[in-house]
């Protein structure tokens, strides 16, 4: 035997990976549909309603259309990098799902199967690392297009993501001080037994939420694709499914950051006011996954609501907000949390 590996474990993880990737993609697909419907409701329109009942097949029609469009690669661009750009955007969008605890353990075929692909003991840092990788897809694509507008869009996206990563990291440090662990699974378990982290870190959550909007390039932070100044942003030169990948990666990012927020601050798969240990394990795991999805849908709705309500920032406003408001606020939050944690450790004595 060349490799002594537990085959059942490999199969189990493979099945889990396929399910998570497929689910992310399908949910992202229907998020595009939901976005158009929500936009329609907010603007007093009907939205897409021709493909299938209530327009339910619209995402499939969109996907098919993108597949059948002519594919154009600009003459003077670097072809390999031009293709690498959207692939990287998609890859980094999907990679985060590996450390998310999607649910509790289920019991099948005499095995306890954890609904988490990898419970690494530094899950939150992994998420952070993947987020910081996300900028490459945009930068490489924007540069390889060999177009001034694309390059401007890519540079804007990069500087924005770098700026907001800092505040995001500092708000996470405050959260880590409260939870005392980096593992996402342990965080969820702690929240199941006690209060949700939002109760301890309301300011931290607000900072994290704003940064998540910026990292996903969503309005009001979508200057990278400001169509009135940059034609279309970093993906001007893209067509067909490569454009589809960029647009799609944005929705996968939105889904994943909603999952991360729900896991970090809103108890993950925890069902409030219910002791999961009293009921059947498998059913509780299923309901836990559904609960997580319900929280995620709430966050995704928030993303859309904000998009169709708040206009885009100016670029200097964006940078001022990131560097002069969010980072000092996050530092203050970290200091306050540190002081309180220390006080609590000393039994509330100075």
């Amino acid at each position: 035997m060349l490799l002594a590996i537990d085959m059942a474990l490999v199969i189990e993880k493979l099945v889990l990976i396929v399910i998570v990737v497929m689910a992310s993609l399908v949910i992202a697909m229907y998020t595009t549909f939901a976005e158009r419907k929500v936009a329609a409701v907010l603007q007093d329109r009907r939205g897409p309603n021709r493909a299938g009942p209530f327009g339910i097949l619209q995402p499939l029609a969109d996907g098919l259309k993108l597949f059948f469009k002519e594919e154009i690669i600009p003459n003077f661009s670097s072809k390999a990098l031009f293709i690498l750009g959207p692939s990287l955007a998609m890859l980094t969008a999907i990679m985060t799902g590996a450390v998310i605890p999607w649910g509790d353990k289920v019991h099948f075929f005499d095995r306890d199967i954890s609904l988490q692909i990898a419970d690494v003991n530094m899950g939150i840092l992994y998420v952070f690392a993947v987020v910081s990788m996300g900028v490459y897809g945009i930068m490489i694509g924007g540069w390889a297009s060999n177009n001034k507008y694309s390059l401007m869009g890519a540079l804007r996206a990069a500087s924005q993501i770098i700026s907001y990563e800092l505040a995001m990291g500092i708000s996470l440090i405050a959260l880590l001080m409260v939870t005392g662990t980096l593992s996402l699974k342990e965080m969820v378990v702690a929240q199941q037994q006690g209060l949700w982290n939002i109760a301890y870190q309301p300011l931290g959550f607000l900072i994290f939420l704003i940064c998540a909007f910026a990292e996903c390039n969503r309005t009001p932070f979508d200057l990278a694709e400001a169509e009135n100044e940059l034609v279309g942003g970093y993906h001007v030169e893209y067509s067909s499914m490569k454009l589809g990948f960029y647009l799609f990666a944005e929705y996968v990012n939105m889904f994943i950051s909603s999952v991360v927020m729900a896991t970090l601050f809103f108890g993950g798969y925890d069902i409030p006011f219910l002791n999961e240990a009293n009921y059947d394990q498998n059913w509780m795991a299923l309901f836990g996954v559904l609960m997580l999805m319900a929280k995620v849908v709430g966050f995704i709705f928030l993303f859309m609501w904000v998009r169709w309500t708040i206009p885009r920032f100016r670029y200097d406003q964006l940078m001022n907000l990131g560097w002069k408001v969010l980072i000092p606020l996050a530092l203050f939050n970290m200091l306050l949390t540190g002081a309180l944690v220390l006080l609590k450790h000393n039994g509330w004595h100075f």
Partner: protein, 166 residues
């Protein structure tokens, strides 16, 4: 050959190939992308050594932040093979010889260390885990740690001052 060894060889080949590409490729952007691959391969090695914190920080800081800035500068200046100044052939030879000498010195130094004969302990030891690392940093080495952070702070303030001048 266990799975760790296969991973080790795979990562090593990847790292060396990408490192050669950093030097050999004509376009600066390609060099930077190869350097990012090198960082990822190094992080893989760190994980094999059970130094997970080092691995992830290597990705966050080097691959995620510093290389983005590199890419940023190269893209803004729009460097490419055409505009890059051609180096003199003599300079290239000098670089090759001095680099080769350094390589030889390192090889001989490594081959004479006593550890080279034995196996490196892969996947064992837990000094690289974040908990132990934090304990060591903030208990045994807290003063050097704080001093180095003050050094960072002064570098940051210096950068801001230089930027403010214009």
């Amino acid at each position: 050959m266990g799975i760790t060894q296969i991973l080790f060889w795979g990562l090593s080949v990847l790292a060396i190939f990408a490192a050669i590409m950093v030097v050999a490729s004509k376009s600066p952007v390609h060099s930077i992308l190869s350097l990012i691959v090198v960082f990822f391969a190094m992080s893989g090695h760190y994980i094999l050594l059970n130094a997970q914190f080092l691995a992830i920080v290597n990705i966050i800081v080097y691959a995620g932040a510093i290389m983005v800035l590199f890419l940023f500068v190269v893209m803004l200046m729009n460097l490419n093979a055409g505009s890059e100044p051609q180096k003199h052939r003599m300079l290239q030879f000098a670089g090759l010889i001095s680099g080769g000498c350094l390589f030889l010195v390192i090889i001989s130094a490594i081959s004479e260390t006593p550890q080279a004969a034995g196996n490196v302990m892969i996947g064992t030891g837990n000094s690289g885990l974040i908990k132990n690392l934090g304990m060591v940093l903030f208990k045994d080495y807290v003063i050097p740690f704080e001093i180095s952070s003050i050094l960072f702070l002064s570098a940051m303030i210096g950068a801001v001052m230089i930027g403010k001048k214009n």
